[in-house]
C-alpha cells in the first residue's frame, strides 16, 4: 500500500529551450497538509498541471496514490479535487448551477458540504459567475473542490484573491477538513505565513528545482542563524552552511543542520558565539532562493 499521495521522480517539463520544471522529486505523504512554496514563475503551476494530466511531462514520472499520471489519469481525477491558478469558470452560470454541473461527475459528492461551506465562506450562490468579485470567484472554486469528497486536494494559489478574513476562514476549513476526512491537501502559495500556520510539510521550488522538502517543524528546528565574533573564521558555503555574511570581525552564518556542532567548531577555533537564532519560514525561503542566484 503506497504511503505517498504524490510521488514524483525526476519530473521534468521543457518548453522548447526553457526548462520550466527540472527533475523534481516530490514526496507528499497521505493525509498530510503540504505547502508548495515558490515565487511566481518558479514552476509550481507547471508541476501541478503535470500531476493532473493537463500537461504531459517531458521526462520523469509522477504517481498519485500509486497511479501513474500518464497512464491512469481518469482514475486519479476521480479522487482529486483541483483549484486552478486561473480562477475562471463558465461566465453565465451561477454558483448553484456550477454545483449542479459538478455534482454529476463525482459519486462522492456531498450536498451537506456544499451547504456548510457556502455558509462558512459566505458565497453568493445565485449570482452569475462573471459578476462575482475575484475573491468570490476563488471561493466558488474552493466550494466545488471541498464538496467533492476527494482524497486529494490540489490547490494552486487558493488564497491570492482572498481578503484576510476569508483566508482565515479557509485555513480553518482546510485544517479541519484534513483532520475529519483524512484527505491530503497539497497547496501552492507564495504567502508564507499561511503555509506556516497549517502546513506540516513544505517543499520549496525555485527555477524549476526543488530546493528543499521536509517537515516544517524540522526545517524550523534545524535551520539556525549563528552570529559569531572572531578572526579569520571560515567563509565557505556548503550544503550545511547556506550563506556567510561578514562585517569587520562579525560573521553571520545561516546553517541548515547540526547548528550545535557547527557552533562548537567555531568556538574551538577561538570564535565567540554571540547569538544563535531561529529563522522564520520567510527568512529561510529568502536565504534558499537567494543562494541559487
Amino acid at each position: 500500500m503506497n504511503e505517498l499521495a504524490i510521488d514524483s521522480k525526476d519530473l521534468t517539463k521543457t518548453y522548447g529551450s526553457i526548462r520550466a520544471v527540472g527533475g523534481i522529486n516530490l514526496s507528499v505523504p497521505r493525509g498530510a497538509i503540504y505547502g508548495f512554496l515558490g515565487r511566481n514563475g518558479a514552476g509550481k503551476t507547471t508541476t501541478i498541471k503535470m500531476l493532473l494530466g493537463l500537461t504531459r511531462p517531458t521526462a520523469g514520472t509522477a504517481k498519485v496514490f500509486g497511479m501513474d499520471v500518464s497512464a491512469e489519469c481518469m482514475a486519479i481525477l476521480r479522487r482529486t479535487a483541483f483549484v486552478s491558478e486561473k480562477k475562471t469558470l463558465y461566465p453565465s452560470l451561477t454558483a448553484s448551477e456550477l454545483v449542479r454541473f459538478s455534482r454529476g461527475f463525482y459519486p462522492t459528492w456531498s450536498d451537506s458540504a456544499v451547504e456548510k461551506y457556502a455558509r462558512l465562506l459566505e458565497i453568493p450562490m445565485k449570482q452569475r459567475f462573471e459578476k462575482l468579485s475575484n475573491g468570490n470567484q476563488t471561493k466558488v472554486w474552493l466550494l466545488l473542490a471541498l464538496s467533492q469528497g476527494a482524497d486529494l486536494l490540489i490547490l494552486d494559489e487558493p488564497t491570492t484573491a482572498l481578503d484576510p478574513v476569508s483566508v482565515d476562514q479557509l485555513l480553518h476549513v482546510l485544517a479541519e477538513d484534513g483532520l475529519d476526512r483524512g484527505c491530503t491537501i497539497f497547496f501552492s502559495s507564495h504567502q508564507l505565513e499561511e503555509v506556516e500556520r497549517i502546513a506540516e510539510y513544505a517543499g520549496v521550488i525555485d527555477r524549476g528545482k526543488l530546493l528543499l522538502e521536509s517537515r516544517l517543524d524540522d526545517i524550523k528546528s534545524e535551520f539556525r542563524l549563528i552570529t559569531a565574533a572572531g578572526n579569520s573564521l571560515p567563509t565557505q558555503t556548503s550544503p550545511q552552511v547556506l550563506s556567510v555574511v561578514t562585517e569587520g570581525n562579525f560573521y553571520r552564518y545561516v546553517v541548515t543542520k547540526d547548528a550545535d556542532s557547527f557552533a562548537s567548531g567555531l568556538s574551538q577555533n577561538g570564535a565567540t558565539i554571540t547569538n544563535v537564532a531561529t529563522l522564520s519560514l520567510r527568512e529561510i525561503f529568502l536565504q534558499l532562493v537567494r543562494k541559487e542566484q
Binding site: I33, A175, E176, S221
Partner: protein, 128 residues
C-alpha cells in the same frame, strides 16, 4: 485557555504550545487535574493544523506534564515529572547560560544577578 502562537516565529508551533503550557503550570495558572481543551478545539482556537496541536499534547504527555484519559479528555498531571535530578539540571542549563551572559554584558555583579533570580522564584511561590 489563552494560548497564543506565532506561526512565523522560528520556533516550531508545537514547541511554542508546550512551552506555554509548562509556563502556565509553573506560574500556577494551570493547576493539577485541571482540564485542557481538546486537540481539535485548541487547533480551532489557534487557527493551526490539528496535527500540530496533537504533537504538542503528545510531547507533553510523554514528558509527564499532562495526562489523557481515553474518551475522557486531557488534564494537567498530578505530579511533577519524575526526572532524574541530573536531567532536570541539564534542562535548566540553557536558561541559566542566558541569564549569565546577559548579566555579564550588563556588568552586573554575581550577587545582583542571583538576587534577581531569587526574587522571581519568590514571586512564583507567592502565586501558588
Amino acid at each position: 485557555m489563552l494560548f497564543h502562537v506565532n506561526p512565523s516565529s522560528g520556533v516550531p508551533i508545537y514547541l511554542q504550545i508546550e512551552t506555554q503550557v509548562k509556563n502556565a503550570i509553573a506560574a500556577g495558572a494551570l493547576r493539577a487535574d485541571q482540564a485542557l481543551p481538546s486537540v481539535r478545539k485548541l487547533a480551532a482556537e489557534l487557527g493551526i493544523n490539528p496535527t500540530t496541536a496533537a504533537r504538542a499534547y503528545q510531547n507533553l504527555e510523554r514528558d509527564g506534564v499532562i495526562t489523557t484519559i481515553p474518551g475522557g479528555g486531557t488534564y494537567v498531571a498530578e505530579n511533577v515529572p519524575r526526572f532524574l535530578k541530573s536531567e532536570k539540571l541539564r534542562r535548566l542549563q540553557p536558561y541559566a547560560r542566558q541569564i549569565a551572559v546577559e548579566g555579564a554584558q550588563l556588568r552586573l555583579t554575581n550577587d545582583e544577578i542571583l538576587k534577581t533570580v531569587r526574587d522571581e522564584l519568590d514571586s512564583l511561590g507567592e502565586r501558588k
